[in-house]
């Protein structure tokens, strides 16, 4: 009994237990922003900027990967995927990221629009922020339609890609209307331009041309990049590294020939500028390559692969369209509108309009008017697309025979929209002969991919498509 009187720790234990049980474990870590804290009018521009960032996050990816699949660029580096894209291979795994991020860009814009309505109520419908959100949403839908073979919304069933264009039209109409209400010429033009793109997707050329006509040639709206925010992937991979280049693309072989380079700078069409960072003399086509790149000195200090491609097997020809990490990527432009009008002219056999529209684009970019030979080719009629599978890597190999309006349009869209992530769509909708065998296709390779398949993650998580051929094939 006497000992028990010494066991006076029981109160201490009880107190400690009370301390533990009563102690809140709630910890509000700094840095995180809670959902409800965003419902303030002053924060709406920040919410919209976030939606813009969601779209920007993927637009340079379309330019980069799309460029590799279409010979806007050539994969000269060590990334496994670039080698596959060079061969025109694109699998469900490769689609991952594009699908999710593009959907998220559209979703984020929708979420932001809902928040705007909650916070600003009826005033939301007359703000440029709202118009911008609808432009962002429309662009996301448009890119889904342009790039994916099939589309799915809201975990539903399989739909043709035209469903995305339908969604884009709804969004761009909103952008146009709210832009007008907000007196924002930018988003009115963006709305019109987006509508033109979407109607092209649907094959509704009269509506496309009608919409395009509302956009001035010098109009451009872009996905925004900044060296300290979200930097341009095409720049990073060609200036910061040398994972891809212009080497052995139609640019260097035909449209802005490497043989006409002066002081290692391209001299031809200003829409497709590049720099020869290293000289490589072997004229055999890969894989019969030999090593031996000579630095030209012009790219010193610009990046780790300044002289040769990061793969170590080719010279590095650096694109000069995006010369900064913060270089923006156009999403809708007036020159594209003129090209839509030109394509409509081709379809109507209207050579005069075609030549005029093309020259308007060329003049805007300082490329000069079409040559007499081009004009003659245009006047010969619409013709048909063609693509030469060059047998060597000779720089002067003409990959495309320019003998009709389609071939000229092909070239002009190629150069005008170069590195903007749009050519993949052109190849698909034109059923371009390049898809059957470009110069970089190896022996025995199947037809090149012309659209992105729905990725594995959607197949896994969406029971409505899991057993369809796009997931089981």
């Amino acid at each position: 009994m006497k000992q028990r009187t010494r066991f006076g720790l029981w109160p201490l234990i009880a107190g400690f237990s009370v301390l533990l049980s009563g102690c809140t474990l709630e910890v509000l870590n700094p840095g995180a922003i809670l959902d409800e804290d965003l419902n303030t009018p002053d924060l709406m521009p920040i919410v919209v900027a976030g939606s813009s960032a969601e779209l920007n996050d993927i637009m340079d990816g379309y330019a980069f990967t799309g460029g590799l699949l279409t010979e806007d660029l050539s994969g000269t580096g060590s990334y496994f995927s670039t080698g596959q894209y060079r061969l025109g291979r694109f699998t469900r795994e490769d689609s991952e990221g594009f699908w999710e991020q593009t959907h998220e860009a559209a979703w984020a814009s929708g979420e932001a629009w809902a928040r705007l309505q909650t916070v600003l109520e009826s005033a939301a419908s007359s703000t440029s922020d709202a118009a911008r959100l609808w432009y962002l949403m429309g662009t996301a839908h448009q890119r889904l339609g342009e790039n994916f073979c099939d589309v799915v919304y809201d975990k539903g069933g399989l739909q043709p890609r035209t469903a995305s264009f339908d969604s884009a039209i709804i969004a761009f109409n909103q952008a146009k209307a709210i832009g007008a209400a907000a007196s924002s010429a930018t988003y009115q033009s963006a709305g019109w331009g987006g509508l033109a793109q979407a109607h092209v997707g649907l094959g509704d050329w009269s509506s496309a041309v009608a919409a395009a006509g509302n956009v001035a040639t010098d109009f451009v709206i872009e996905a925004i990049y900044h060296q300290a925010a979200n930097s341009n992937q095409v720049y990073n991979e060609t200036w910061g590294r040398a994972e891809v280049g212009v080497w052995a693309t139609p640019i260097a072989r035909q449209y802005n020939k490497a043989s006409e380079v002066v002081n290692y700078k391209s001299t031809g069409d200003p829409r497709v500028p590049y720099t020869v960072c290293g000289e490589w003399t072997d004229t055999n086509r890969p894989p019969d390559v030999t090593l031996g790149v000579t630095p030209t000195g012009t790219c010193t200090g610009q990046g780790s692969g300044a002289t040769q491609g990061a793969g170590g097997l080719t010279a590095h020809h650096r694109q000069d369209k995006y010369t900064e990490r913060g270089s923006n990527v156009p999403t809708i432009s007036g020159t594209e509108m003129r090209l839509i009008e030109a394509e409509n002219a081709v379809r109507n056999g209207d050579a005069a309009t075609f030549i005029a529209k093309i020259n308007e684009v060329r003049a805007h970019h300082g490329a000069g008017a079409l040559s007499a030979a081009d004009e003659a080719a245009a006047n010969s009629g619409a013709g048909a697309l063609n693509w030469d599978n060059c047998s060597t890597w000779a720089a002067d190999c003409d990959v495309n025979v320019i003998d009709d309006m389609w071939s000229i349009l092909d070239r002009e869209r190629y150069m005008t929209l170069w590195l903007e992530g749009r050519r993949f769509w052109d190849l698909h909708r034109w059923d371009h002969p390049f898809l059957n065998g470009g110069t970089l296709i190896g022996p025995g390779e199947p037809r090149r991919a012309s659209c992105m398949p729905i990725p594995e993650i959607e197949c896994t998580l969406n029971e409505n498509i899991a057993n369809t051929s796009v997931c089981t094939g």
């Binding site: 965003l38 699908w99 925010a229």
Partner: protein, 1005 residues
């Protein structure tokens, strides 16, 4: 600490001896009676001869006894003249009894050499128990490594101590750069997403168990626990699974490691000076010279295997350009630019270590104070003018224990350590040394001058402080209490600087990162012991813990400097900064009851309740129960195997958990810099209010046996873990909107294996002993349920393997495995390879063997050897794959020559897939990485007394580490040359662990 207190209590209880302390001032002792004499001598470990302070000395048939002091010396006064029998005993060692003739008025000397017991059921274990318990009471497997084990091994950091010496513990070894951290796994992996690092405690304080800082440029990450001075460690206890770690609650599912540092002991100051001098040598990388063939190094995959190379092909004589960079070659007729003057990128490293410690004290207070200075220069040679790769270390420790009054013991343990690491750029880094050297002319450096990459200065300084106070109070034999309060604090200062004029970023850039991790521990537990009935003892324990983990990160970056010199952040034209602060708090209680029947059968039931700041608001407390039984059947009267003197069978069932991350439960947005650097917000996490911990349940059973007077001992365990409510990042179908995954408690994983420790002493005589040790373990795992993700699909849920392409979780497969391409049509002549995705193998070993032997001659010469084998796992070989793509992998050049210049129809699909660049694939270069290594070999000689003037004892030893590697199926540099060791599972131009040779002299005075 409770351990000491309990230990002493136990001895009092079990021996019933009236202890006579005669420890201070031997010179003051006097002979008290005319017919008595004095007996003195040393008590030491039979093998490594370290003093066994605290050992109990008794004179049979008398009440005379005493404790061995801090120098290993005992003194027994007033021993009756005549022949006397004296016994020395201490927990963990077999007792020894010797006879001595005592002459009246004189001093007799007799030394004791006790042999360490592999199985000591009376030994007290702290880890995984409430308070402390004898090993015989514990129903789960416990492993321990003692100072004696450390003493005799080639140990340069903490990871070395555990490597191969404990069944079920894997050390994913550190790489060839000095300062690289290792990764610890105990019983494999049971969590897909929340990490599997064990909890680590030092002197009762939870310490940082992960990386600190880390360098993308060097592709290596240091560990804080590697900064613990091995010389300060008294013992390490390892608790291996949820059944044993239940009382540690949430976060303990990966196991627990308790480190106990050395304490003072009564006696005059005992000094120990230890000096190491050594070198390290990098093994040859790649082919060994002209005329060597791939077949010779890889006979089973070369021509003999019939698929890779034509026989007798001469391969690149320069290896991988690392060993020889000066010989003429096609792309560099005068040798490679930037090659060091010696003609090799490798040079012997230099390691020096100086340790000084003192321990002593009186009856009521003891101390242990130690300091260490170390400096190591690595094996990668840098030209003059560059800082060599290496690390400087400094550690100080002061441990004080005092007993203000009987029953109360206070311990104060403090340590400060600093490590300054100079990295070289390496690994998965376009500006890395190995990448550019091995790729030869296909590297990135201008003019192939690879020395340019060394202009990238990468330095990291880590400061580490652990301070703790432990109060133990035992008011009587029934009650005991222990309170631990402590802080573990780590600061990392990391700088990656490329000066103006650097070849890759001409105007230079600078990254400056500061990371602080602070762990606070408040831990109380109490025990009430009472005999319920005759032969039935009750031991009730209770306690509570609170932990706070605070992380603070500032990452700064700037670039485009105006000119040369060491520019700082803010001097450039593009400053950017990131700040992160995270606090995670947890608190819990436990209660446990152990019933002991006849001191041989022990049944334990316990429960722990945990709250955690990262649980969802709707979750509440997590509860973890445990049950265990331990039965020493050999204590029964009916035991019928007299040769087997100890047989304990045990079984345990218990649960533990893993908490979600700091923000996982909340819907949050992240602030970003959008557009033209304007503020924006994007969705960060959708949140889950019901989020709780993963719940790992384990059942384990096994036995411990000792036979033939301790010359054979066996410890066997079988375990099976099931993790329910596994945390999986589940996203809705992306078409529904966001791609953000929400962490949910959905899946189920299983993790199982066996552990066997076997110790044999085939020969033991007075002057020679030979022992053998074997640690064998198996481990396998399977994802058995992926919730809504189940269905044979692969999803990304494993952050430990950051390469998305390879990070797959698939029901029916192990938790971490390699999913990649393989050749669907192997070996078909004239065909191109057809690839198919497939399971290629585990990323963690499925079996491990640690085999050791130790011989001690005349108690002065000890030879200790440890081999380790890890088997049943794969590693992708980045250098091979990437070099093949560039026609720079020497072993593939003959195949490439045929492809480019010969008859392609003579090549098989496998040859083309492996060796022809456009067809090569990561999966084709993913190899079985099973290996055997000679981890440690040590020859120690205890110098004759008097040889070193003024020294009590002195010992010199020669130590070697990683002396030999056998990896017959692996075609890379080394199976352990991992990129970012703690987080990746592939080789990518990383330095292999070097061979280390050390000479040590230790003087005790």
């Amino acid at each position: 600490m409770m351990f000491d207190f309990k230990w002493k209590s136990a001895w009092r209880n079990t021996t019933g001896i009236a202890v006579v302390l005669a420890l201070v001032g031997f010179g003051a002792a006097e002979i008290a009676a005319q017919n008595t004499g004095t007996v003195t001598g040393l008590v030491r470990d039979n093998s490594v001869q370290i003093p066994l302070s605290g050992a109990q000395m008794t004179v049979d048939g008398t009440p005379i006894g005493g404790l061995v002091n801090n120098q290993g010396r005992y003194l027994l006064l007033n021993v009756p003249a005549g022949e006397q029998t004296i016994t020395a005993q201490i927990i963990g060692y077999g007792s020894q009894t010797l006879t001595v003739t005592v002459v009246s008025g004189e001093t007799a000397t007799v030394d004791f050499n006790l042999r360490q017991e592999a199985l000591s059921l009376e030994g007290v274990i702290v880890t995984g128990t409430a308070g402390a318990a004898r090993r015989k009471e514990i129903g789960n497997a416990i492993s321990a490594v003692t100072a004696a084990d450390i003493e005799v091994a080639a140990v340069t950091d903490f990871g070395d101590i555990l490597q191969g010496r404990t069944a079920g513990v894997q050390i994913n070894d550190h790489g060839g750069q000095v300062g690289s951290g290792s990764q610890i796994r105990i019983r494999g992996n049971n969590s897909l997403t929340q990490g599997n690092d064990p909890l680590i405690y030092i002197d009762g304080v939870r310490m940082e168990n992960g990386q600190i800082g880390g360098s993308d440029e060097a592709a290596q990450e240091p560990n804080v626990f590697d900064m613990i001075n091995p010389n300060d460690i008294d013992r390490i206890e390892i608790v291996k699974g949820p059944a044993a770690t239940t009382l540690y609650g949430t976060e303990a599912a990966g196991g627990v490691i308790q480190i106990f540092t050395k304490r003072g002991s009564a006696g005059a100051p005992a000094w120990t000076l230890s000096v190491d001098q050594g070198t390290s040598i990098m093994p040859h990388a790649g082919p060994t010279g002209l005329g060597s063939t791939y077949d010779e190094r890889y006979p089973d995959v070369g021509a003999a295997g019939g698929w890779l190379l034509p026989a007798d092909e001469v391969i690149n004589p320069f290896g991988l350009n690392l060993n020889d960079c000066s010989s003429p070659r096609a792309w560099a007729p005068s040798g490679e630019a930037g090659c060091p003057e010696s003609g090799s990128w490798f040079a012997p490293g230099y390691k020096q270590d100086y340790n000084l410690s003192v321990r002593g004290g009186g009856e009521t207070a003891t101390y242990y104070v130690a300091g260490r200075f170390g400096k190591e220069i690595g094996t990668i040679q840098v030209p003059d003018g560059y800082d060599p790769q290496g690390a400087d270390d400094m550690q100080v420790r002061g441990n004080i224990q005092f007993t203000p009054f009987d029953g109360l013991q206070v311990s104060l343990n403090n340590t400060y350590a600093r490590r300054k690491i100079t990295w070289i750029p390496n690994g998965n880094n376009a500006s890395g040394l190995y990448l550019n050297v091995i790729r030869g002319p296909a590297g990135y450096t201008p003019g192939n001058d690879d020395s340019l990459v060394l202009e990238n200065d990468i330095n990291q300084t880590i400061d580490h402080i652990v301070t703790s106070a432990s109060i133990g109070w035992t008011p009587n034999n029934m009650f005991s209490h222990r309170l631990n309060v402590g802080m573990d604090y780590t600061i990392s200062d990391f700088v990656d600087f490329k000066a103006w004029g650097y070849y890759e970023e001409f105007q230079g850039d600078r990254e400056s990162d500061t990371q602080t991790d602070r762990n606070l521990t408040l831990d109380y537990n109490g025990t009430f012991s009472y005999d319920l009935f005759a032969g039935v003892a009750s031991n009730f324990s209770w306690g509570g813990q609170m932990y706070e983990e605070y992380g603070y990160v500032i990452n700064g970056f700037d670039e485009l400097f105006a000119g040369p010199g060491e520019q700082l952040l803010g001097n450039g034209n593009n400053p950017a900064v990131y700040e992160g602060r995270t606090t995670i708090r947890s608190g819990g209680f436990f209660a446990q009851e152990t019933l002991g029947f006849g001191d041989r059968l022990f049944l334990t039931a316990g429960m722990r309740w945990d709250g955690f700041s990262t649980f969802g608001e709707g979750f509440g407390l997590a509860a973890y129960p445990k049950l265990s039984a331990a039965y020493t059947v050999s204590d029964e009267a009916w035991w019928f195997f007299p040769a087997i003197e100890i047989m304990k069978v045990r079984a345990a069932w218990g649960q533990s958990g893993k908490a979600p991350g700091a923000f996982d439960a909340k819907r949050i947005y992240e602030a970003i810099s959008a557009d033209e650097q304007v503020p924006g917000v994007i969705i960060g996490n959708l949140g889950n209010a019901d989020l709780g911990p993963e719940l790992s349940t384990e059942i384990e059973t096994g036995f411990e046996a000792s036979a033939f007077q301790g010359r054979v001992s066996v410890d066997f365990t079988w375990y099976n873990q099931t993790t329910n409510d596994a945390l999986l990042g589940v996203q809705e179908a992306p078409s529904g909107g966001t791609e953000e995954a929400t962490l949910r408690n959905l899946g189920e994983t299983k993790n199982w294996g066996t552990e066997l420790s076997l110790n044999l002493i085939p020969v033991t005589t007075e002057n020679f002993e030979w022992s053998l040790g074997l640690n064998y373990s198996t481990n396998d795992s399977e994802v058995t349920d992926l919730g809504p993700l189940t269905g044979g699909s692969t999803v990304r849920t494993c952050p430990e393997v950051p390469e998305d392409e390879w990070c797959k979780t698939h029901d029916g497969y192990p938790l971490f495995f390699r999913w990649d391409d393989r050749i669907a049509n192997p070996g078909v002549l004239g065909e191109l390879p057809v690839k198919e995705k497939a399971y290629l193998g585990h990323l963690y070993p499925t079996s491990m063997i640690g085999a050791s032997t130790r011989m001690t001659l005349a108690r002065s010469l000890t030879f200790d050897v440890l081999f380790e084998s890890q088997r049943g796992f794969v590693r992708p070989i980045g250098p091979a794959y990437q070099n093949v793509r560039r026609r720079q992998w020497p072993m593939c050049l003959p195949i490439a020559d045929v492809w480019y210049n010969g008859d392609r129809s003579t090549l098989t699909s496998t040859q083309v897939g492996n060796c022809v660049g456009p067809y090569a694939d990561w999966g084709y270069w993913t190899d079985d990485a099973s290996f055997i290594k000679l981890r440690s070999a040590t020859l120690s000689w205890r110098l004759p007394e008097g040889l070193v003037p003024g020294a009590r004892t002195a010992q010199i030893s020669l130590q070697g580490k990683n002396l030999w590697t056998y990896a017959p199926h692996y075609r890379g540099l080394d199976p352990e040359a991992n990129d970012r060791r703690r987080s990746a599972m592939f080789e990518y131009y990383n330095a292999a662990p070097p061979r280390v040779f050390l000479a040590n002299i230790q003087i005790n005075f």
